[in-house]
Symmetry: D2
Subunit: 114 residues, 4 copies
């Protein structure tokens, strides 16, 4: 079966989420720095090819609960809610990452021809 533009669009979307997760999970974080980390992650991924839009939210309640005796924690996968739209040729793919059943799951929400 030949590889279609739709395949490539969805493939690119997967790359972005895998990259985001493994680049930024582990970053030191506190309640005061959540904003700047959210912004930097979203902007960083947005410069990659085919990224149409991206939003990154870090669960402040979870950051709070994870604060160590030293007043900080690390960004963990379950803290992340990500929504992104990737466009490749005439395909627009909506993907996301969110906590489900205790795991940070990545999923394809929609693929449309535009």
């Amino acid at each position: 079966m030949s590889v279609t533009p739709r395949d490539k669009a969805v493939f690119e979307a997967g790359i972005k989420l895998g990259a985001l997760y493994h680049q930024f999970v582990g970053s030191p974080i506190s309640l005061k720095t959540v904003d700047s980390l959210e912004k930097a992650i979203a902007q960083s991924i947005s410069v990659q090819p085919f990224v149409r839009s991206i939003t990154v939210q870090i669960d402040r309640e979870m950051v709070k609960q994870n604060l160590s005796a030293f007043g900080y924690t690390e960004l963990k996968g379950p803290m992340l809610t990500v929504d992104a739209v990737i466009k490749y040729e005439n395909y627009e793919v909506s993907v996301g990452m969110a906590l489900k059943d205790g795991y940070p799951l990545m999923h394809v929400k929609d693929v449309k021809e535009v």
Copy 2:
């Protein structure tokens, strides 16, 4: 358009390559440690869901050329050649990462129904 098993298969393949790249690029490396890093990267990604097979090759010539005055360098994207097969439901996706036009490009090589 609804999301198909084929979409999910290709999406999962993208996740794996994005993860591999951003987890391991930057690792200190020398000619003596190329073998163990190749093996660890391949094994690490192989434990993720839907990975059927994966091979990772690090260009030893490029490692050699990049060695600093201290006798080591860091794993860089262009040093990597990766081939992986991801299987999701009845779709098998072959993907790869390789140097092309100076950049480490990720690509879908084949999608087949099995």
Copy 3:
């Protein structure tokens, strides 16, 4: 020889620079996102224990020269100039990372009793 507060102060300073480098090098970046990445890196490291102050500068000229055909690049070690002050008990340690002889070198600039 017993471990002194001065040893611990300098050790903590080393940890911070090693962490910064290996957490954030590899992040996708373009000229438009340099500001947010600089800020997020500095804030992220600042939440770790004993960090008194930190400044992070990313060389925009180098970002520009490294832009791929896709209009972005990755944060690389040589692009970084970092200055940080770590305080542990009564020792204040000034450390930095900067390009020297082609390599991003980390160094202790000063240790003082306060």
Copy 4:
């Protein structure tokens, strides 16, 4: 106060632990791949300047307890026990990382003149 060889030795030791942690934490891992990841981490850090020796142990029981429904987990800080000896000029510094009070703490164990 001028910076001494002893300061530099301890600083280099800190760099190595910070680097190790933020480079490799987050790597996908299962019971079958613990061995290769331990080996690759130790070898990777061993190529950096001034590293005399290093051992890396990943707590298999903790890996087991953290396995997801998909049969794998990620390397987390508390799973790591690291011991390293750094030598700079005539100073040999023994450092380690180990779980203490629930946190993966890095510490200087000994500094000696050799």
